[in-house]
């Protein structure tokens, strides 16, 4: 008979979609084994799921997946035969293995059919001629790279960037046309290199978000609510480090929506709303940022109750009568506010929003909130594309240099410091074009000797929806700064999110604008 070929690349999508389904069944079965350890059906279902995954992975030549599935299958098989018992530690192990397996399935499809270079997929045999493998490789040229290696590359790019800055000063000093043009050329290439390295760290948000539909479905079911969940923009890319760290906060927001936002069926019917609640998770690019939004059409946040509690805790002005979106976020994100149990009961929302806020801030992002009573709540996380490089305004305060991330900068201005600034106040207010604006005098705040003069340079910033102006001594310029790890002092508010080395080699601290306002 004629030798046949089988083009495996055709089956990649099917492998992925069905593999995910089986992972879903596996997770469900493991959950059931946790609640009902004696359930033979659950063990059988888990066994079938890993067995199917093993078969598919073997057919595709994904050896890593095949081997893990095979090991899980053996463990489940001996449970199935009654040769071993379901113990919490075995179950914990299986749950971890299932997570690994899910990750490996995702990873397997973005690389050539044979996962390990130099090690051909076993047992695929001669019936798949080398030509097929070659063509699969051409259409699917991915390699797996250790994340730490990408981090090291990024770090090196940062170092080169710093060296380039130093060189720039020398080039300006020597002032030679030939040299200048060569330097410019090198700078351009370096810029491209940096973009490529940043790009290599980007992954589609779908990699983390695709587990949410099932989680939402299960949570909704356990709460006995009817919810239509939509996931938009799964292909939008984000730095892997950022994506890894926002998975849990986003899940948190989704849970909040399901738990506190979207009403029970009876309540929705009574209010004349569609019986099925709507919950949307979307990702979109906007300028240099990615916006991640969780929106529901639930009951909205009960501002009166939040306000009442905020007054009790002295978080708002004593005479405050309402909370706008900005004030609402400030209160909800106040550390500990929303985790206080009495608040959980009354506010009906915002459980652990401070935790989400903290996670987003660490990444250099901001949160926005919009809530309309009876209509729903939308929470938007505005995240930088990369954590490694932050475009910043560099300012001098006294003899020190500080970098203010552009995420927060609205404009630069010149303003007259209020009298209290002269007396050493760090936080004060002043009137700018008719409205009261908060002023932060960085020199006073950081305890850096500074001379307050009649007119001083200021930076109008926006953080957590609030505007304020930071007073500095002078602007030095704008620069892409490479964030270096920084250990904040243990006590007090962390005013800095990191440190950097500027082009001329001088160190600068990166101001955490969120914490100042």
């Amino acid at each position: 008979m004629a030798e046949m070929s089988l083009d495996l690349s055709k089956y990649v999508d099917l492998f992925l979609s069905e593999g995910r389904e089986h992972i879903g069944e596996l997770t469900e079965a493991l959950n059931e084994m946790e609640t009902t350890p004696s359930s033979d059906d659950a063990v059988a279902a888990a066994f079938r799921a890993v067995h199917s995954i093993k078969g598919m992975a073997a057919a595709m030549g994904y050896t890593v997946v095949t081997e893990r599935a095979n090991a899980m299958e053996s463990a489940l098989d001996s449970l199935r035969r009654g040769e071993s018992q379901v113990t919490p530690s075995l179950l914990g192990h299986l749950i971890d293995e299932a997570d690994e397996l899910a990750r490996e399935i995702e990873a397997a499809v973005i690389q050539p059919a044979s996962e390990t270079p130099g090690e051909s997929a076993p047992r695929r045999g001669a019936s798949v001629p080398p030509a097929t493998t070659e063509s699969a490789r051409r259409t699917n040229t991915h390699v797996r790279v250790r994340a730490s290696r990408l981090d090291a590359l990024m770090n090196l790019v940062g170092e080169i960037e710093i060296a380039r800055g130093r060189m720039e000063r020398e080039v300006a000093r020597i002032d030679d046309d030939q040299l200048s043009s060569s330097f410019e050329n090198a700078s351009r290439l370096l810029h491209d290199l940096r973009d490529q390295v940043i790009g290599a760290r980007m992954v589609p948000v779908g990699q983390v978000f695709e587990r949410f539909p099932r989680l939402v479905r299960e949570t909704a079911r356990s709460l006995e609510k009817e919810v239509d969940f939509t996931l938009d923009g799964a292909d939008i890319e984000l730095d892997r480090t950022i994506l890894d760290r926002i998975g849990d906060p986003v899940m948190h927001l989704l849970r909040n929506s399901l738990d506190h936002g979207i009403e029970a069926v009876a309540e929705r019917e009574r209010d004349g709303k569609a019986v099925r609640g709507r919950l949307t998770l979307s990702a979109q690019r906007e300028a240099g940022y990615v916006l991640i939004r969780v929106a529901d059409d639930g009951r909205g946040i009960n501002r009166e109750k939040v306000l009442r509690r905020a007054l009790e805790l002295d978080l708002v002005d004593r005479d405050a009568t309402n909370l706008d979106d900005v004030a609402l976020l400030r209160v909800l994100a106040h550390p500990g506010f929303s985790t206080a149990s009495s608040v959980t009961d009354v506010s009906g929302r915002g459980v652990g929003l401070d935790v989400v806020d903290a996670a987003v801030r660490i990444l250099g992002g901001t949160i926005e909130i919009k809530s309309v009573a009876g209509r729903g709540t939308a929470i938007t996380l505005r995240l930088p594309l990369s954590v490694a490089i932050v475009r910043s305004l560099v300012a001098r305060v006294g003899e020190e240099l500080f970098a203010i991330p552009f995420t927060h900068v609205l404009e630069t201005l010149s303003l007259e410091p209020p009298a209290s600034a002269l007396r050493g106040a760090a936080w004060t207010t002043t009137e700018i074009s008719g409205s009261q604006v908060g002023i932060v005098v960085l020199g006073n705040l950081f305890g850096v000797p500074t001379r307050i003069s009649a007119q001083m340079p200021g930076v109008s910033v926006l953080a957590r929806g609030r505007r304020a102006a930071l007073i500095v001594d002078a602007f030095v310029g704008q620069q892409d700064v490479v964030v270096k790890h920084y250990d904040p002092p243990r006590e007090g508010s962390p005013m800095f999110s990191g440190a950097t080395v500027l082009g001329d080699g001088s160190p600068a601290l990166i101001v955490d604008v969120n914490s100042l306002i």
Binding site: L6, A44, F47, H51, S52, M56, M60, G61, R123, S127
Partner: protein, 120 residues
């Protein structure tokens, strides 16, 4: 005259791959089943020349399905599809009336060799 085949496997992936292999070799896929129970019902309905049968399926496993199909039609021609490490089950399947077996992952030539020998 092309032979008719009923493909039984709980994974769409496997059914698709197997159907592709068989169709390329000129077989006609007349039906698919994703459980043992459905496999038996489809066999009775379609009377295919050949059945490919997965061993591990929900509802009713492949071996029990073979037993039922063969008791309904002693001339039924069933090829088992087993995964690596299921040799013991393959023996059970042959005893239950399966004519041959192929091991996943499928090697197209091995699959065709087995089915052609069976329908031969």
């Amino acid at each position: 005259m092309s032979h008719t085949v009923l493909v039984c496997d709980d994974a769409v992936f496997m059914r698709t791959m197997l159907s592709d292999i068989l169709q390329q070799a000129g077989f006609t896929i007349v039906g698919e089943a994703d459980t043992g129970t459905k496999a038996v019902a489809k066999y009775k309905e379609l009377r295919p020349d050949l059945v490919t049968m997965d061993i591990v399926m929900p509802d009713m496993g492949g071996i029990d399905a073979v037993r039922e199909i063969v008791s309904f039609d002693p001339g039924a021609r069933v090829v088992m599809c087993s995964a690596m490490g299921q040799q013991a089950l393959v023996v059970d399947a042959i005893e239950a009336g399966a004519k041959d077996f192929v091991v996943k992952p499928f090697q197209p030539s091995r699959v065709l060799e087995a089915v052609q020998r069976v329908v031969g």
